[in-house]
Assembly symmetry: C2
Homo-oligomer: 342 residues x 2
Amino acid sequence: MNTKQSDFLESPVEYAIGIDIGGTNTKFGIVNHRGDISNRGDISTTNHKELNLFIDELYEQLQPAINAIGGIDFIKGIGVGAPNGNYYSGTIEYAPNLHWKGILPIAKLITDRFKKPCTLTNDANAAAIGELMYGAGRGMRDFIMITLGTGVGSGIIANGQLIYGHDGFAGELGHTIIRPGGRLHWGTGMKGSLETYASATGISITAKEILDERVGEKSLLRNIAHEKITSKRVYEAAIQGDPIANEVFEITGKILGEALANFVMFSSPEAIILFGGVIKAGNLLLDPVKLYMEKNLLPIFQNKVKLLFSELKESDAAILGASALVWEIKPEVLKKVPEMEK
Amino acid sequence: MNTKQSDFLESPVEYAIGIDIGGTNTKFGIVNHRGDISNRGDISTTNHKELNLFIDELYEQLQPAINAIGGIDFIKGIGVGAPNGNYYSGTIEYAPNLHWKGILPIAKLITDRFKKPCTLTNDANAAAIGELMYGAGRGMRDFIMITLGTGVGSGIIANGQLIYGHDGFAGELGHTIIRPGGRLHWGTGMKGSLETYASATGISITAKEILDERVGEKSLLRNIAHEKITSKRVYEAAIQGDPIANEVFEITGKILGEALANFVMFSSPEAIILFGGVIKAGNLLLDPVKLYMEKNLLPIFQNKVKLLFSELKESDAAILGASALVWEIKPEVLKKVPEMEK
């Protein structure tokens, strides 16, 4: 169909491949300039011990999708979002939730296999770019995206650009310390980082801590086995009016709000866009976040920053953001492609 | 002299005026493209109740300097660094340490008086631009400048640009909360902000707190009247081996180091450049800052960030940075000039 379109247009219709490498699954899709995703698919991230074989499977699984839009000639490039993805080097570096260890030259492997330029960044950065181009961040030059899922990630847009930092690792706001000497992080060993409180994991820990501390106090959460208390269960108890569950969101919102105030005084964004599973809590989370963010801002920053929820489907944001990298592919990446078709 | 040079050159030699408005004094100088300051001068900021009369005096006091470089035709524009200076609006907004209150249209008043385009930013941002163009930040695309004086200010360079934020107020890192519920700030009423600990004022408060808490413990600082204990006096006692004075720098360095770690995980700078009176403490401050910054960084950030002292004379940095704004004057500012000479 698109091959026919190209007969009538000066340049062929162009598509980008967006790939989101997660700890369990790797999702992909073909994306056009307007941000429409077609021909979605996914493969397991954990099936292959050998990274090369994973790339091979990705290549094979993508062939029907590529053929559906008229063939590889219609693909401008490939964008990848991945944990600990480094934009400058195109490598994934020491990602704790991937089973391949060390430094993985993903962009190079994909470029070699597909014969198309590949750009890579970390997953939260990809989501921020997705939001900038197709979501709640459209038309903004300055915003911060905070992803609240199992962990807490972030992507920072300032002066209309993603902030990569000198080494490609900027925007690890989940690991900033908001309670010095506070809760021990299960993975990093740091104490009091935002992620230990504001992630889904953090929310369930806060609930368990209160339940353990105040044994005499009734709560719907006492009907659930301790190890089965999740942020979702805490939310369900909270909307039924459970005081402890509500307190958990109050505490989480207070800590997140204080952290956001610090971030605002760093880059003074027009908006903070919240994203990820935890935002399903809605106003239960948003109300205390807003209250404590404003309380901790200098007057010149107060009542200015929009607190927004992402406008993108969670499963789409990273694919969209990764694909958006293709439209701004760096010239030096293009030069690296060995035998570019045309 | 320069008028003669201009006879031989296609375009006249160009200069910028750099102005640094402080709470007490306003300093100025004429700066060339290489960052050489000539014809320095200063006037009192507090002499005139009426802002217009202050601008008039500034205009008059600058005339000999302007004449010395060949006249106003050789001036490309005027850059101003000022507390709470807003780059976008050219106004100073609610600066606590100036006696004129509210919103001051400084850039417009200067443009009207001098008939030259004027750009304004806050003093710490101006110092960061000075460092970027003429100091320790030359050749870097990503660094954070922290000014440690009576207060704590900051300017953030990312992707080679100063981060202004959506409203021109980005980079108020001195007001980020590093000890939630901690020390009350004398001006803002906030608790536990970096400025309450890492400024010269904060250092003297830390010393007094320890002296009051541990009455039995000997210290050289006990020979000084309480109200006369300054960060300088604490430094002098520390280099004589006084344990309490040394502990004060250890505490200050720990808190500042932890704050810097958070900043690094935001924008991942190549360097943090420290500036201002407090850095005279040298390694007494730098050693604990480095230790606790590294301790609080994720492994991917460790042993990468340079901790540098400013290479500019303190009195020059703001004038240089303010003047540097002139070379990148925004087109919309030029358009606003009413009757530009030539």
